[in-house]
């Protein structure tokens, strides 16, 4: 039983990280129908920015996270403006091809600039905490709390601010939003910035319990896709629920079944859903 709760706790940590990554992907898909295969690599870039903030600039953990979020938000803006916006009218596979181009570029950039080896991210919060018979590091608790704060903040922004409302409007009906005078390009740019910023925050949080490398974006991206398919492509609450479901499933499967196929769960879930619901769960419209 103790193991069960420990796994539950681990699932909560991993789920929080998955949620932050998947949220950004869902937000971009929901407003622009762009499956951004380079999202995982934005996350990777965020990890490196934070890493150098801590190890070279010595600006401390939280300022480094802020730096990563700001830098990645700018990268997101640039991507939207110069890569994805011009592709809106072409065949839809072109968006994926362009994302693959971006992904290769970012991965190589990281390899050339930062080297291909795995790096350990120093965290100031590595004290081990015991509570209710569970073992946790401070960092793990921070991850759960920080992810919760970010998600609540995002919800507040989307539901309670005017800017957030314009994003929702564009997500529901892009043409209609344009008709009532919403600058849809501005919304797209903003969504990309938020999405990349969230990825950077997630990366800073996870980097301190894991290793960072130029290829770290690859595993995470397909899991994030599995999550948003599970959560109903483009739905923000769906992405959060999907992230925790997947994390719990992986956590328990890793302990009770086999850790070899732990990573396959996400893809199995994705394949099963699309096999039986080819238009995805909770598909919009008819």
């Amino acid at each position: 039983m103790h193991l069960f709760f420990q796994e539950l706790f681990n699932g909560l940590v991993v789920g929080s990280l998955y949620a932050l990554v998947a949220l950004g992907l869902a937000l971009v898909y929901g407003t622009m129908q762009i499956p951004n295969f380079a999202h995982g690599h934005l996350y990777m870039l965020g990890a490196y920015v934070a890493f150098f903030g801590v190890t070279i600039a010595h600006i401390g953990y939280w300022p480094a996270m802020l730096l990563a979020v700001v830098v990645l938000a700018i990268v997101g803006l640039l991507l939207e403006r110069f890569v994805f916006r011009p592709l809106a009218r072409g065949p839809e596979v072109n968006v994926i091809i362009a994302a693959v181009g971006v992904l290769f570029f970012l991965q190589t950039l990281a390899q050339v600039a930062f080297g291909g080896d795995y790096r350990v991210f120093p965290t100031p919060y590595d004290t081990v905490v015991h509570f209710a018979g569970l073992v946790a590091t401070q960092q793990q608790l921070i991850i759960i709390a920080a992810a919760a704060v970010l998600m609540v903040g995002l919800f507040w922004f989307l539901k309670r601010t005017l800017t957030g409302a314009t994003i929702e409007a564009v997500a529901q009906n892009r043409a209609g939003a344009a008709l009532v005078g919403i600058d849809t390009n501005r919304v797209s740019a903003m969504v990309f910035a938020i999405s990349a910023g969230l990825a950077a925050a997630a990366a800073t949080l996870i980097a301190s319990i894991s290793l960072i490398s130029p290829s770290m974006g690859f595993t995470v991206i397909l899991k994030a896709f599995a999550i948003i398919v599970l959560g109903g492509m483009g739905s923000v609450p769906g992405a959060i629920v999907g992230a925790y479901i997947l994390a719990f499933a992986e956590s328990f499967a890793g302990t009770y079944i086999s850790s070899n196929y732990q990573d396959a769960i996400a893809f199995g879930v994705l394949v099963l859903i699309l096999t039986f619901k080819p238009t995805g769960l909770f598909a919009r419209g008819t």
Partner: protein
């Protein structure tokens, strides 16, 4: 004119073993040819039918592992093993295609990516069968056909060259037939194709199976040529790389897959130190190509000639 270019290319490829100074270079060219066969497969599904199968490298893996395992574990000779490898990838292609083609739009790419990664995970984790990350080693050479022996780099190079020629011939014959034009037509205008009585689902499945056939064929040839095989040949990153070769060579064209693969593989091996940096150029180039040639270089060529005649 174009026919002459192909003849020149064939002659160069044929005399290459006589003129290259080191077998190392011959090996690079042969590896590029094998990759090109797989890229031809990707061209059928993406270039003709407009669908992006991100699990393509997994079908390459199915062909490769089938050939390697049948030879090393079941003691089959190469030729029937190659045939079985092709059959295996087409059968799996039919199954995956029948399910994945029911999805629409971006779901197709996401679905096939997930299937591909699952297959790659099986290759990595089914240690007893596939040897896990170490893979399969000592895959034997093909048995001789009459006086033709396939031991050594040069005979194997010619075998790869023949395989590439077969792949190109398949693509050219299909593309110029009614079948190939139907592929292109449904990518161009699905509703009209349906209105004209074309069973779009069936045509797409045909294209998907043909594309997995070429992937599996390439995989079988790869296992034979390399003599060893690991799961790193089957992942999503490999598909992405093949996609890069295809788009840069020009998707939808007959020469594109070969040109793209040779140029990119050639550049990375020939210019010392460039390999590491090449994606800094080719990544952005990919973005520019889809932006300025949204329908591929073939589409741009058509429009240019059409404008010229107008």
């Amino acid at each position: 004119m174009r026919r002459n270019l192909w003849i020149v290319a064939a002659v160069i490829a044929a005399v290459l073993p006589l003129v290259v100074p080191k077998t190392f270079y011959l090996q690079i060219v042969a590896s590029a040819f094998i990759t090109a066969i797989a890229v031809y497969g990707l061209n059928v599904i993406l270039g003709y039918t407009g669908l992006l199968n991100l699990g393509h490298a997994a079908f390459f893996g199915i062909g490769a592992y089938a050939v390697a395992l049948l030879q090393t574990k079941a003691g089959w000779p190469f030729w029937p093993a190659l045939l079985a490898g092709c059959v295996a990838s087409v059968v799996l292609g039919a199954l995956v295609g029948a399910i994945s083609l029911r999805t629409r739009g971006h779901y197709f790419a996401i679905f096939t990516a997930a299937v591909g990664v699952m297959i790659a995970i099986v290759f990595t984790n089914w240690q007893e069968l596939t040897g896990g990350n170490i893979g399969i080693v000592n895959i034997p050479s093909p048995p001789p056909i009459g006086p033709l022996s396939f031991d050594g780099d040069v005979p194997k190079y010619y075998l790869v060259l023949v395989a590439l020629a077969i792949a190109i011939a398949i693509c050219a014959l299909v593309r110029n037939s009614l079948v190939g034009r139907t592929f292109v037509a449904i990518a161009d205008n699905e509703a009209l194709a349906r209105a004209a009585g074309i069973d779009v689902a069936r045509v797409r499945l045909t294209a998907f199976m043909l594309s997995t056939l070429l992937a599996g064929f390439a995989g079988g040839i790869f296992a034979m040529y390399n003599g060893n095989l690991g799961p790193d040949q089957t992942g999503l990153d490999v598909t992405f790389e093949q996609l890069l070769y295809l788009v840069i060579g020009g998707f939808g064209t007959i020469a594109g897959p070969l040109v793209g693969t040779l140029v990119l593989v050639g550049i990375s091996h020939e210019l010392q130190g460039v390999q590491q940096y090449r994606f800094l150029i080719f990544g952005p180039l990919l973005v520019l190509l889809v932006r300025f040639f949204p329908y591929g270089l073939a589409g741009a060529f058509h429009r240019l000639t059409a404008r010229g005649r107008a």
